[in-house]
């Protein structure tokens, strides 16, 4: 799955997002229906209300993901979230800390949408790849810095 892309699955697919740096992967899941969605979000907030690509920004991506899941039969009240990424990649710059802002806006939007974050692996200074098993909602996070872990 590419940068600023989103995938939703109700057929137990493995959704993969490789090499997240300051980007955040948001995984939403309805456990009873085994419906999952994964988005690779680049920036915190869209400069316009209706951006060309809703998935690029945290504030527009999450409502869009929920809509797609509900259309496939997910129940809004059952959807939970896992979030990964938002690292600080470049050492020695007058950095704008995009990763940190990505994570904080993702959390804000999820709170407003009343979606609970059940687990997360965010921050740090290293890249991560995300493997989201929509059969059971499990996520494996891989990185050079920390190896492999399940969240």
């Amino acid at each position: 799955m590419g940068l600023a892309h989103m995938k939703v699955s109700s057929s137990g697919q493995l959704l993969v997002s490789l090499a997240l740096g300051s980007c955040v992967a948001v995984a939403l899941y309805d456990n009873q229906k085994s419906i999952g969605a994964l988005a690779h979000i680049l920036l915190p907030e869209s400069p316009t209300a209706k951006p060309e690509n809703a998935v690029k920004y945290a504030n527009t991506a999450i409502p869009y993901m929920i809509k797609k899941m509900v259309r496939l039969g997910a129940r809004r009240g059952r959807i939970v979230a896992k979030i990964v990424g938002g690292a600080f990649m470049f050492i020695g710059s007058e950095n704008s800390r995009v990763g940190q802002r990505n994570v904080s806006v993702v959390k804000d939007v999820l709170f407003k949408e009343r979606i609970k974050i059940v687990s997360e692996d965010t921050g740090g200074d290293y890249a991560r790849s995300v493997f989201f098993d929509t059969k059971n909602g499990k996520i494996v996070v891989k990185s050079y810095a920390k190896g492999q872990k399940e969240i």
Binding site: L42, L43, A87, S93, S96, V98
Partner: protein
């Protein structure tokens, strides 16, 4: 159709020419830096869609060493210097005049060395471009990262925050005696900046 192709070829030639000029300056600077004769060639320069960037490095998860400079001035953008981590080790060997395979890890000192070199190459290229089209471009403080290529690209784009479609790729070869190391310089700018660059050069 043929006309469009020839225009693209012409633009490619100019980009390569600018790359070669920048490489010449970088080689002089680098030779002074290590006090030995170092050559830098530019086998290829091209504008590539952002989607293809990770392919150039061999995949999203390939570990790379990166130096990133934000670019300020008439063409806001970012310039990235990238080498695969394995080549990063070789580059340290080359710069320190050691046999390939001597350096095993990239620690604090090696990072600083690579940051310097990446910065010299990026700044030289930027300077060549600025002179060629007679504008002012100022690189900011270089920052360093060592991780997956895909994460470096996307995080650079996020740092810049603007809509980019393409990046200029300048493939370089750093040569000392019989040793060669490939490194890549990426220059990311807005679509309107590319139009402006080609217009100034007269190949639009």
């Amino acid at each position: 159709m043929a006309k469009r192709n020839s225009l693209k070829e012409l633009q490619k030639d100019v980009l390569k020419e600018i790359g070669t000029i920048g490489a010449g300056h970088a080689a002089t600077a680098l030779s002074q830096f290590v006090d030995r004769k170092i050559l830098i060639t530019v086998p290829e320069a091209n504008l590539v869609p952002l989607k293809k960037l990770t392919e150039v490095m061999g995949g999203a998860e390939i570990p790379v060493v990166a130096v990133f400079n934000k670019v300020l001035g008439e063409i806001p953008g970012g310039i990235l210097f990238l080498v695969p981590s394995k080549s990063g080790l070789k580059m340290v060997d080359l710069l320190e005049g050691k046999n390939f395979g001597t350096t095993k890890i990239i620690g604090e000192l090696e990072r600083e060395l690579l940051r310097q070199v990446g910065n010299i190459l990026a700044a030289s290229y930027l300077n060549a471009l600025a002179k060629f089209i007679n504008i002012v471009l100022i690189p900011s403080v270089p920052s360093f990262a060592m991780d997956m290529a895909g994460a470096i690209f996307s995080s650079s784009l996020a740092e810049l925050g603007f809509q980019a479609e393409k990046a200029l790729i300048v493939e370089t070869e750093i040569i000392e005696k019989a040793s060669r190391i490939k490194a890549v310089i990426f220059f990311i700018a807005e679509p309107k900046s590319w139009e402006m660059i080609f217009k100034k050069i007269g190949v639009n």
